[in-house]
Structures are given as C-alpha cells and as structure tokens.
C-alpha cells in the first residue's frame, strides 16, 4: 500500500529526515517510535503533504501512485488520513458541515454521487456510537473549545467517518486519559480490517497495549535505526531510547 524509499526531507533548510525506508501493506499496523525531535511528526507531515516541508530526495508510492505528486487534498481523497497531533479549531463551522463537505468532496473525486443529508446523518450516528461520542459534538464548531482529549477523540471519529485506506495517527495518545485511550483504541480495533492499514506515531508504548502493532520501528535522528515486533516497544518502554541510539551510533 505504502512504499517509502530513501526519503530525505527538510524544514526551512534544515534536514530532518535522512533516508527513510518503509513498506506498509494492507491489514498491517505499524508503530513508529522515537525520542523527541527524531523526525516522527515530520514524517507524518511529509506524507500528508504539509506546506513548508520539502522533500529533497527519495520516493513515496501510495496505492501505486506517486504520492509526492499529489496535492494534500488529493492524498486525502486517495485514502490517506492524518490524525493531527494538534487538531486545528475552525470557529463557526459545525462538525457536521465540515465532515459533510469532506465526505462529498472525497466521493466526487472517486466519481460517486454526493450523499444527501439523511444518509450522511445515518453514517455519522453509526460512527458516533463506536467512539462513544456525544451528539452535541455535531453542532459544535470544529474543535473549538474542545479539551485536549476531546480533540483527539474527534480526530479518530473523523477517521471513522472518512474511512481511509491508510491512517497515520500522530501522537494521538498524548492528552488522553486512560478511559479515553481505551475508547479510542477499541474503536481503532473495530475500524481495522484486512484492506486498511494504520501507522501509529508515538513516543510511548501505552497505546500499543491496546492496539497491537505488527511492526515497530525506531526513528532516531531522521533514520529508522531498528525494526521489530511488538516486543521492541516493550523493550523501549523498559530501557528508554538510549540503548538504541548507542547501537545505531556504533553501526554508523
């Protein structure tokens, strides 16, 4: 589904990603872990096509298309979803209106008829149940006045509504209390199927107690220095990141 080859990227002239290789297939859950400043969020932003992130070298293909050629909105329409680390507030725009616009633009891109209000609301209500989201959210402005936890939950709710092929969760666990974390994780597990994939970008492994990753990658200083299974996350939790850093320094 996603193939990243030798990806180098910089922000304001500063090189952050220094040759990432990663392959994600349908049905898989990948965790990308790493210390602060290692480039985890930069990777998420580059994949989503955020402005000011410059790709210096490398290739990314998504569903056999050159991802880097696509505009951010077309990446989304192709089925790439980013759950933001810091979800953005849009005052005066109701969540319903926002999501309906998004759903219908994605449908239009795929040559489908727009959903009418009734069928749209039906889908919304279904998904709200999965994430235990209060109906009042629909009439509230997007993320405005939401607590940190509410914002994160709202991201996952949007993901459920848009039904992406590949979801990148950027530090979704930060700001969630344990109950909210469980709700989010349970919801994610229900959304997960053999046709979609999830990349969990996180500093801690606690979310990974609930969403079991097939692969764990450790990102240090813009490079994946170690990959492994679920056990790697547990090792990191126990020993911290320093031993991986040391290992990679020795290799270099």
């Amino acid at each position: 589904m996603l193939k990243i080859k030798n990806l180098h990227a910089s922000v304001e002239g500063k090189q952050i990603l220094k040759g990432i290789d990663l392959e994600v297939n349908a049905g898989e859950v990948h965790a990308i872990m790493g210390p602060n400043g290692s480039g985890k969020s930069t990777l998420a932003s580059v994949l989503a096509g955020r402005d000011n992130y410059h790709v210096d070298e490398g290739e990314v293909t998504f569903l056999n298309k050159n991802l880097l050629d696509l505009s951010p909105e077309d990446r989304a329409r192709e089925g790439l979803f980013l759950a933001f680390q810091y979800p953005v507030e849009i005052p005066g725009v109701s969540s319903t209106n926002f999501l309906k616009t998004a759903v219908n633009q994605i449908r239009e891109y795929r040559g489908l008829e727009p959903l009418d209000a009734v069928s749209f609301l039906k889908i919304i209500k279904e998904k709200m149940k999965i994430f235990d989201i209060d109906q009042s959210l629909l009439s509230r402005s997007v993320n405005e006045g939401f607590s940190g936890g509410e914002k994160k939950r709202n991201e996952i709710f949007q993901m459920a509504v848009l039904d992406p092929k590949l979801s990148i969760l950027d530090e979704t666990d930060s700001g969630l209390d344990i109950d909210a974390l469980k709700i989010v994780a349970n919801g994610l597990n229900r959304l997960k199927n053999k046709d979609n994939a999830i990349i969990v970008v996180t500093h801690y492994q606690r979310l990974l107690n609930y969403i079991i990753p097939d692969y764990v990658h450790v990102l240090v200083n813009g490079k994946i220095v170690k990959s492994g299974g679920k056990q790697l996350a547990l090792d990191l939790e126990e020993k911290g990141y320093d031993w991986v850093k040391e290992e990679s320094d020795q290799m270099a």
Binding site: V88, F98, T101, A102, Q105, S141, Q158
Partner: protein
C-alpha cells in the same frame, strides 16, 4: 511561497458574475446637474409641485456642501457634471401584466435569477425591481393590498399615497443630512415604498433588486419604510451592476420609521460590480441608511452582506427614540483586490432602557481595505442604555488592511457600553487541516469565511442566507490555486 501568500497572489482570477449589460432602449436625461435637470426628472415623473420644491431645496443645499473626505478611502474626484441623472428603460405602453413586460427586460431579470413569475410561486417573495432608476414591476401588490400593506415603487406612492410620502419623506434622513443624501434628495429617480398598517405582520419577505444598467448613469434610489404600531416587516434588498471600465456612482437613501411596538428587519445583499483585478471600474456605493425607533418598544435590525462595489461608504443607523427600543446592526463586509469599504453604524440612544447590538465582521483579501466605523451615543435622558459591540477582522494575505474606528459618547452615567474587537488571519494550519480531510483549498476558504461570518449570516432570512453564503464563496473564489 507560503500558502497564504499564494492565496493573496492568486486572488485576482475571480470574474464578476453579473457582468453583462442589456440593450434596453433607455430614455435618458442629458448629462449634467442643474435645476433644469431636476425639473426634467420631476416632470418626467409627473410629480406634484411640493416634491419638486423639496428637490430644488435639497439641490440648493447640496451646492453649499463639500464631498466628505473623512472616510478611510481614496478615489479620484468625481465629476458630477459628467453624469446622467435619469435613465428609464423605454416601454411603449404601460404594462397591464407581466406578459406585457418587454421580453428583453424579462430576459434581464432571468439573468439576474429573478424570474418574476416563478419567484412569485416558489419563494413567496414579493419583488419590486428597480432597473436603473425606474421601478419596473411590482408583484404581489394585490395580495399585500388585502392586508392593507402598501408595497410599491416610490413614484407610484407619490401618486397614490401623497399624504404618507409627504409626512415621512426626509423625516429620518433630512434632505440636508449629508452630501450624498442631499444629492439623492435632489435627483432621486425611484425606489421602493412600503407601509405596514397597525397590527399587521407582513406574511412574506418584501424584496427589491436594484441594478445599474446604462453607462454613465448614477443610481439614486430612495426607499421609505413605515411600520405602524405593532406591525412587523422583513425587507430584503439585493444589488448588482454590469461590468464597466468607468466608475459609476450609487447614492441611495433608505429611511425607516418604526412606530410603537413595531419591528423592521432590513437585510441587504450588496453585490455591485467591484471593479476589475487592477481596480479599474466598479461602483461607488455612497449610501445613507437610517431608521428611527420612534415609538416605545420598537425595534429595527439591519443586516448587511457587502461583497461588491469598488468603494463602500455606508452606516446603517438607528435612532432609538422610543423607550425600551432596540437597534441592531449585523454586517459582513468583504474587500478583495482593490476594493475599499468604510462601513459601520450609528446607534443613538435617546429613550430610556434602549438597547443596541453591533456585530461587524470584516474580511480583507488582495489589496482590499476594510474599515469599521461606528458611533455609540447615549444622550442625557437615556437612562439604563445598553450597547454591545463586536468588531472582528479577518485578513487573507499580507497586502490588505483592516481598520477599526469606534466612537463612544456617553452622557448618562447609567449607560453600559461594551466593545470587543479581534483581528485574525486565515491560518495555513486551518487550510491544511481542511485539505487533509479532502477539502479543496478554495472550499476551505469558503468554509472558514462562512464560519467566521456565521453570527451575521444567521440573521438573514433562510433562503437569502444560502444565497449569501454562496456569494461569499464566489467573491473569494479563485483566490487560491
């Protein structure tokens, strides 16, 4: 180049949608302005002597005035002698029904999206269309007539209800009020007149569309709305004009009189031609709008969506004379490319327990300059007056400007006046967030701007709120690539 800068740079590609002019034969007065021209206008319209005298008095006063230069706008000097002050589409015989209306004229209406026939049935809106200067057709007159509501062209009102016109004309905006009001009083060609009798709630939105059609014509329409005791009316005005290279002047006057317990809601969707992307052409919209809450417990509410015109100079105001009366002003003003707007309101508290509320939302894009100018004045006897003002500005790009000029004069210590102001920019973050959900940048901007203006848009009657939302999106369309 950041996305915001791109938005700014590309703001230029949006074309004005109503930019055509129809080849109607026009009956025009010669260019220029003098007492003879005023006599021509008055006689063309078969006016009584008192009205001609009123016009001439206004004209003589106008000659003593100087054009106001205090607004925060710049434009070359206007040559008032180089304009045509009267232009009526020629109709051979007065039409008996819509079927007799000039087909070319009807086509014009259709381009405007006002098919009179359909509009009657579909929207339940009574429309009085003022094309150039003469009111061409008034629908629903009969149905409204059953309730005693008078809704007609100004000229017809002069003929049919001279006592009402004579009593109220100039009672809220005197002929001597200001430069453009005096000019309008001297040369106004037509407009709308509306009277709602005691205790009657007008069952439909009353609506007028103005359109400047002929070249070199200024449009000087005059609207007078009288809401008698305990009555209610919601009135909507829409405006468009063809694209022309030269600037055209529009100097209208609107007067509203609300008697005891009466309520008037006046909504405007102003979409005059704004000029091209280099600032050539466009309408100068110099308008005086004022209402008086004359009786106790009366209410006047202004809502305006201003997206057009090269220059907008207007301050729909409320004189809160009656005790417990309420004045409201809700405004969204968009300036794009080289548009300039200096707009706001005046709330004059005279009666006891009077309340006013001001919500102004400016949007500046391109090289647009947007100024809010508002006065809240509490007179000595206005015990317990309350005002709340909120003035927000939204900036797109870095070549535009937003300015706020609030004036507050308080002469009664029991008054409570609050003023809040914010300035924000459409963030790249917001646009990217929308993009990441599959929403195009253009639609993201429309969504964000409409969200920002929501508090004002929700004041509009439902069907017009939708129209206004589309218009906002359209005005900023092409602002992004």
């Amino acid at each position: 180049m950041s996305k915001d800068t791109q938005i700014l740079e590309e703001l230029t590609s949006k074309e004005y949608e109503y930019g055509w002019s129809s080849d109607l034969e026009a009956d025009e007065a010669p260019k220029g302005l003098n007492e003879d021209i005023i006599r021509i206008i008055s006689s063309k319209k078969d006016e009584p002597q008192w009205l001609l005298d009123w016009r001439l008095k206004a004209f003589r006063h106008w000659q003593t005035l100087k054009e106001p230069r205090w607004p925060n706008v710049t434009y070359p000097e206007i040559n008032y002698q180089d304009m045509i002050y009267y232009s009526a589409p020629v109709q051979k015989v007065a039409p008996e029904s819509l079927d007799d209306v000039d087909p070319e004229l009807k086509a014009t209406f259709e381009k405007l999206g006002i098919s009179l026939q359909e509009q009657k049935i579909l929207t339940g809106v009574a429309v009085d269309v003022v094309l150039d200067s003469v009111s061409v057709a008034t629908t629903f007159k009969d149905k409204l007539g059953e309730l005693g509501i008078i809704f007609s062209s100004f000229s017809d009102a002069v003929k049919e209800h001279p006592e009402l016109v004579k009593k109220y004309l100039g009672s809220v905006v005197p002929a001597t009020d200001n430069y453009f009001a005096a000019l309008n009083s001297a040369v106004f060609s037509d407009g709308s007149f509306c009277y709602i009798p005691k205790g009657v709630r007008c069952p439909m939105e009353l609506s007028t569309y103005f359109r400047i059609n002929a070249a070199n014509t200024g449009q000087f329409e005059r609207t007078l709305i009288i809401a008698d005791e305990g009555s209610y009316v919601s009135y909507l005005e829409g405006c468009t004009a063809p694209m022309r290279d030269e600037n055209q002047l529009h100097a209208a006057v609107v007067e509203i009189h609300a008697a005891k317990d009466a309520e008037v809601k006046y909504s405007t969707i102003q979409n005059w031609y704004p000029g091209d992307k280099n600032g050539k052409g466009g309408i100068y919209n110099f308008v005086t709008k004022r209402g008086i809450c004359y009786g106790d417990n009366s209410k006047i509410s202004w809502t305006q969506v201003e997206t057009g015109a090269a220059i907008t100079w207007k301050y729909p105001s409320c004189i809160l004379k009656g005790d417990n009366s309420i004045g409201e002003f809700y405004s969204v003003a968009v300036t794009n490319n080289y548009q300039q707007a200096d707009t706001g309101t005046k709330m004059i508290h005279i009666g006891k327990n009077t309340k006013s509320r001001i919500v102004s939302k400016g949007v500046s894009a391109g090289r647009g300059q947007n100024s809010y100018r508002g006065l809240v004045k509490v007179l000595k006897r206005a015990t317990n007056a309350r005002n709340f003002s909120q003035c927000d500005s939204l900036l797109m790009g870095s070549n535009c400007g937003a300015h706020t000029f609030p004036y507050i004069e308080i002469n009664n210590s029991t008054a409570q006046v609050e003023h809040e102001a914010t300035t924000s920019k459409i963030g790249e973050d917001q646009i990217f967030y929308c993009n990441q959900r599959g929403i195009s940048t253009e639609d993201a901007v429309a969504l964000i701007v409409n969200g920002y203006a929501k508090e004002v848009l929700k004041q509009l009657p439902m069907e017009f709120a939708v129209e206004a939302q589309k218009l906002l999106a359209l005005t900023l369309e092409g602002s992004v690539g």
